[in-house]
Symmetry: C2
Subunit: 329 residues, 2 copies
């Protein structure tokens, strides 16, 4: 059985809305067991009219909410009955729980993960990875996407290793790793990037060299290794460029009428979905004892379903063991 | 008279093709005088059938070419008769020449500019700026876009000042400056960015705070100040995101037929032109004694026309004096 903890609070939408994603997931995966955290009374009420396998869902009463408007450290201390703290604590205390899923406050989730679930080892700096779809339809993983802003070259190598282990767990054999720089050629980049390049060559990773911003959607890479500041710039700017053109399509559609207008709008909708990395999937914190999957605050039941899918895959394919192997832990 | 030096060699297209952009520019601006550098015989032959004001075009024989395939330092030493070296030397020696325009090898142009035209003062690190179009139709200037990879906070402030002076010369009153970071709030960013933030607050610039990648096309900023590595990631990734969606439109168009197909293709062409920052405009090196406008290697006559327009504007509006004022030189 694949057991995961799911925090249903702290997102824009209600816990009962997100619960629907949990129920669909239970239907999708006969080997999935979910500990759902939220207001028990509300959830039990919502479940009354639902058809699901009662042996694979346990509701844990955790009615407090940690928000984006409070200091995360204070919040995890003062809200022991919050869904986030109780979920992370469950991951810590119950060996059978393999992953934690939440669409709640980012700061609170990061702090809960670091201080309750804990890093795999004192030498491992957990990394936040996310995926986006390349033009060939394959996914590429960005590691780090903004959790760790400034790191020495050795840490960027560690981010590359965790990104590679992640893509292996997602089914990619021998993931190709590239290092974000200002040009594709060896020797491009800051002193830090040049040193990371040299260190990456010495690893067992399938390191293919540098990648520049212009080719992130068309490269052979499965993993982009980067420090978090640049990774954050990359992720957000990529969405900005794509969304701008998608908005141009909407603007153009609004100058048209009838079927022609509808066609352009339908096309823009489809593209919007493809390039909306935030609400489609989730960012994953790796390097902690259980992977933590962070869905967007604007998550829908569908988003919940897609991030539970990630959690299911990562637990089933032992991402934590794969990371341990990279670091010989 | 606005006098500029134009290097016609080293681009993908022939000097006679690029010369056409010069002739159109001479027609556009009655106060423009161009020193055109290239193979004199070839250019004179090409001019025979052309109608232009002979008093405002001087051909300078500079038949050697500096390419991307040679060491720039060696090239400027061993090719004194190259269009690039002779153009930069003309800028150095002739006070009346206000700017240098070239679509030749980037490395050669940067080295020629730094060693022949020279920085405004030993304390000024020249910066490479470029512009792109925001969703509101206004231009935004990225300073630095990749010439200076890693700099202390004080240099990022200097890039902000030069970007602001540039936008002033382009007609923007009191340009709004923002600092690239991983979030909009004060306190976001690396130690370097936080320090640059504090320093920017102390300047006379119209500093509006941080900007993140997601809003570069929708912000109130006229200038994005950034270190070159992140600026390069931003610029290239923005194009990547936009181009990917534009290619999706072409792909979709190819599943259609007749007028519908033509409409989608025409629409994609229009967008391609808008988001193709490389071939539309040029990057501008500021902080040297004369501004240097670098057009893309794939420049057409039309590109040449658009970068001569930039040169004309910058000289006419005294961008160099505006920069000197920022640094109290």
């Amino acid at each position: 059985m694949i057991k995961i903890a799911v925090d249903l609070l702290g997102a824009d939408r209600s816990e009962t809305e997100l619960l629907k994603g949990v129920l669909t997931s239970l239907n999708n995966y006969p080997d999935l067991f979910v500990y759902a955290l939220g207001n028990k009374e509300v959830l039990i009420n919502a479940l009354e009219s639902e058809d699901y396998d009662k042996d694979r869902l346990e509701i844990i009463d955790a009615p407090e909410v940690i928000t984006n408007f409070e200091n995360p450290m204070d919040a995890i201390r003062t809200k022991p009955k919050s869904s986030m703290v109780m979920g992370a604590t469950l991951c810590r205390d119950n060996d059978e729980v393999g992953a934690f899923v939440s669409c709640g406050a980012t700061g609170g989730l990061m702090v809960s993960s670091m201080f309750l679930i804990r890093p795999l080892s004192p030498s491992v700096t957990p990394v936040l990875v996310c995926e986006f779809i390349k033009r060939d339809g394959k996914n590429i993983c960005l590691s780090d996407c903004g959790a760790n802003l400034e790191n020495p070259p050795e840490k960027i190598v560690a981010f590359a290793k965790m990104g590679s282990a992640y893509m292996k767990a997602k089914g990619v054999e021998n993931p190709a790793v590239r290092l974000l720089s200002n040009g594709a050629e060896e020797g491009k980049g800051t002193a830090k990037i040049k040193e990371a390049y040299n260190l990456l060559k010495e690893t067992n990773l399938n390191f293919k060299g540098n990648i520049e911003g212009s080719t992130v959607l068309s490269s052979d890479a499965d993993v982009i290794a980067t420090d978090g500041f640049e990774g954050n710039v990359l992720l957000k700017t990529l969405e900005c460029g794509a969304n701008s053109v998608i908005n141009d399509i909407y603007d153009y559609a609004n100058t048209l009428e009838g079927k022609e207008k509808e066609d352009y709008i339908a096309f823009a909708h489809k593209l919007h979905k493809r390039y909306d990395y935030n609400t489609q999937g989730g960012a994953v914190l790796l390097g902690v004892k259980k992977p933590v999957i962070k869905g967007h605050g604007a998550a829908t039941a569908e988003t919940m379903e897609s991030i539970i899918k990630i959690a299911h895959t990562l637990v089933k394919n032992n991402v934590v063991d794969k990371i341990k192997a990279e670091f010989s832990l």
